[in-house]
Subunit: 345 residues, 4 copies
């Protein structure tokens, strides 16, 4: 940590800061420039809690040097983390595609979609049974009934199931049915939910908040790991920007950035990331080229009848075309698409 | 709702859209321009749920005309809503100042602060017993012990108590101790928490999400009102922008904007809104001049020892100076500062 | 400047950085922590130009400590700068209101408006003769003819004239007619225009770019002062945010922030800052309460016929009401509204 | 255009709006709902200039239906535009890579870089002779001397030259030396510069403003085309977001978005788009996978000695590795990398 004193600060004031730092166990290096005095303080970042030095009128600013996250960092775990889910592995050589509707609407819809995406090459089925909706007047999900349909689809297709949990009280219920729990973008900093999901025993896909920074996102993952869940995947789904042609701005640079700073896999959601189905295939290809470990894509057999997100959903036909393109692409990226394991069939 | 068809759309396609709209009970007006066909559809906005017309390849865009909120709108309740809390009223002629530390740290700290802010003219005591923290390694609050200290401070000073709730499972516990429940910025779209707070029987102060639009914020309040709680106050606490000198950008235009669109009172938080104590008094004055119904301000007897937000906390002395300025200011704004009622003393 | 080395950097690498810094005249303090090595480098910030240390693979980051601006800083000129324009002073006790239409549309329009705003208490007439327009198909201004009308209005009313310049080649032409040159928001980082305006001999009002940070804005002012023009005023006119109810988000915290960091006056534009005429009076009052040195406000005799910005223009009647409120307000702020000097009449 | 009247507007008010619209040649369709009256107005969007209906107190909002751009739109020119520069074509099957340093620093530097990037497969040499710099104290470019070095490098290598122009007065000078003129991000809405560049007779690469929307960007291109220059290329170089790990957020979704809405080619700048050299290769690959027509990349023989942007510059060695990866990638995208033509050698 660096403490920058205000111009003209006195010897007593510098002494006061030094004393406080020393009391918290920091070792101090003093640098006196012509204009500014700066102090390098070496010690435990978490002890900074007990010090709010910027509240002192003669301190100009405090610049932290160490990153606030530990367990999610590449330094903590230099090799890539491989998340094992059923017979599948995420974070290794295979790229997995998770596909399905935004919301589970009916048994027929979810089974029809599951078969279609399985056929085209997906390995996971997505679909929301609990929906966080901006309006209280919107469809809020089929809840446990929806979870049952997802489980039935898994049984019939061999696809693994990923679905969102939005209430800390439902974590164990959702974990009973799902293979992967999704924490949605608006819940990225719902620390209560994170703490509960940390204890669920299932892998968690953590979406980036719509305006979250990379550091905030990593800190949210730190909540999961600090709570005991090491099976965490990041999912970039677009951030809010001034652009309105796209629903969000899909920030693909997070793929190489996270691969640099963290050991955890990175999944890309080009459906929420663009909000327009015709932008999904090019951005899905771009995601793989950037090094993504997987995709999560909305597919609906009848997008114009979807209760939500129809305009960003691919039809099964368009999804199939995209999957073929992705297979071609992985060949020059030294990766390959995951496949539903024989045992599962 | 306006439906804009893509250039070159056929009579069949226009017919298809018309039919779907008619099926959902919409009355249709067709306008055929040289380049575009547009359809005005009049009906119940909530039925739009069942239609995702933008998923149709020949629909260019759908423009909603009616606002999605109802109960929070000025049209629903043309007069200002007055929120009654103990002997106080918020939303009327009196301007209330809520003051206290970011977090309840100890019995001594909260009692000392309560007396000081009471003396200077505050009518509500603020202080967090449950803290949503970016890092799992940060102080997470004294929890129920903190609530007890707040209640004791209320008893000793006559101040009313406002405190944050972050877990749906704690809503009734917090409502037992507090006079007003605060929903924090990062929980503005925690719909589970909103639904629970709607049933708590206590007024709710709803902070704006750091990147929320006015409409999203009003929809969050709609969750509370739709759930049965009509005692809702908006609280602007700054939004995330590119500016880093301030912690957030305090958007005071929300005061007249909300007063135009809604009947609910508007409180301003210049402490989180700026992140720097020396910016708090000028922005507090600006808030009142813009028409705010109240302020919520961080005051700490020893900011440099605060476990959080020390740099944006006023000392009791500086708070007193600010309150005197605010009293002078209200006189030319045809308002007056609230006072702790005699009975409470 | 602080240089943070990557974890695991070798003695040779530390030596390499030290040597480079020493070559550029920096004095170095080395701090070796358990995890990181950091170097404090004291010297001339402008010499950093010659060093791009972050390009070195073993350097994690470089944190500048000194502000990049000099002449605009409060440290360079501790007292408030007073800008003298004709008989008026901006930056002192008097608050000035600049008013007029967005664009000069005709001789009649500008004269009618000038008389009306003079009557209500404005001291400056605003109006654009050169208009930067998003579309090439929009009205681009009356150009020199517009400047002549402004000059005529000055003669007839005693108001001083402020108008925008958008082309470096027109700076001296505009300076011939205007009392204050305005650099518009989209030209804040048009360094060519800034360099030319620095030489014009007239005061400059520098609007903040729609997404500019405080530091970038101050650096733009630094271009003007470094070029020899010390008569600079900042003008906050709202920044782009996600909020769409308002055209921009008026960032009033810039008033106390600039008064802390700089000696130059700060003017607020609540018209562009909100984009809606009914939000202008409350935000104008808020601006003065926050400590603004002046306002620039759009007034049009017939807003619904304005060629631009009609929806954010006050009528002369509404402007008069606002001015009366502002006069009342200044009395409790220990300031007063400027007046057109007798000699000018 | 849709005009939405405020709730409770009278027949006279509706009549007043209708009359104004009719006067400007609009044909009107009236739709009266239970809550709102809306009017569809069909006519020439440019006549909206003369009407500022939102300034009328009884008009709630005006929603434009037609896009404001014409010449840049896909509807105006359904086939892809191919920009011919020397022997090269941009916008067709071949993907071109433009490479070189941020700034031209010396004859040696530019020649060394030119040979290296030519060797690795680039077809254009980039390098700034005029630099727009945030600080007046930073290196501002070698100006005409720099242009001469670029021209010499073209002669020696067969590379075409792209370089930035920042002053309207320098357009013809730069056009004398360069094959493509670059309009930088901060000048995207410098309409004076756009009008001059429209007349220069050379193709223009138009960078997106750091906070510009797609529509604003297309309108800037419309200035160029309306001024007579049809040889326009878009260049996405990242937008400003809250993320600070990357210098900007590279918005690759603009590639398919622009290919949908416009006929003009799209170039991606992953160097400014990320600000970190190690993110450049993955994002360059992602750009091609998304369908980009070309790349512009910073390469410097000694990044740590670069006068600007060293940390985002690739060394020639790393650039070569990236080019090999890109060549592999294009093969599965049914495209190929451009090559310096034999005649040029």
């Amino acid at each position: 940590m660096i403490v920058v004193m205000k111009t003209g600060s006195t010897a007593e004031q510098i002494e006061e800061v030094s004393t406080r730092l020393a009391e918290e166990g920091f070792k101090i290096h003093l640098s006196q420039g012509v204009e500014k005095t700066i102090m390098g303080a070496i010690g435990d970042r978490s002890r900074l809690e007990a010090l709010d030095l910027e509240a002192l009128p003669f301190v100009e600013k405090v610049v932290p040097i160490l990153a606030p996250y530990k367990l999610v960092s590449r330094e903590f775990h230099p090799a890539n983390s491989i998340i094992r889910i059923g017979d599948q592995e995420i974070g290794g050589n295979k790229v997995h595609v998770m596909a399905g509707p935004c919301a589970v609407e009916s048994r027929e819809q979810i089974l029809e979609t599951a078969h279609a995406v399985r056929e085209a090459g997906a390995t996971f089925l997505r679909g929301g049974a609990f929906k966080p909706r901006t309006s209280p007047y919107s469809f809020q999900g089929l809840e446990e009934e929806g979870l049952r349909y997802l489980a039935e689809a898994r049984e019939k297709t061999g696809l693994l199931v990923i679905t969102e949990v939005i209430d800390a009280r439902d974590v164990s219920l959702v974990a009973d049915y799902a293979d992967v729990l999704q924490i949605g973008a608006r819940n990225m900093q719902n620390f209560i939910l994170l703490k509960e999901a940390a204890k669920c025993g299932k892998p968690v896909l953590l979406k980036r908040g719509p305006s979250a920074t990379l550091e905030e996102w990593m800190m949210a993952a730190e909540y999961l790991m600090d709570g005991g869940n090491y099976q965490v995947m990041f999912c970039e789904r677009g951030i809010r920007t001034f652009e309105s042609y796209t629903r969000n701005t899909l920030d693909l640079s997070m793929v190489p950035a996270l691969h640099t700073l963290s050991h955890l896999p990175v999944i890309i959601d080009p459906s929420h990331g663009t909000g327009k189905w015709h932008l999904v295939p090019p951005m899905a290809k771009a995601a793989l080229a950037a090094g993504a470990d997987g995709l999560i894509v909305e597919v609906h057999p009848h997008p114009e009848k979807a209760v939500s997100d129809g305009k960003q959903s691919l039809t099964p036909e368009k999804f199939k075309v995209m999957m073929d393109d992705l297979a071609r692409l992985t060949s020059v990226l030294d990766r390959e698409l995951g496949e539903v394991s024989k045992r599962a069939e």
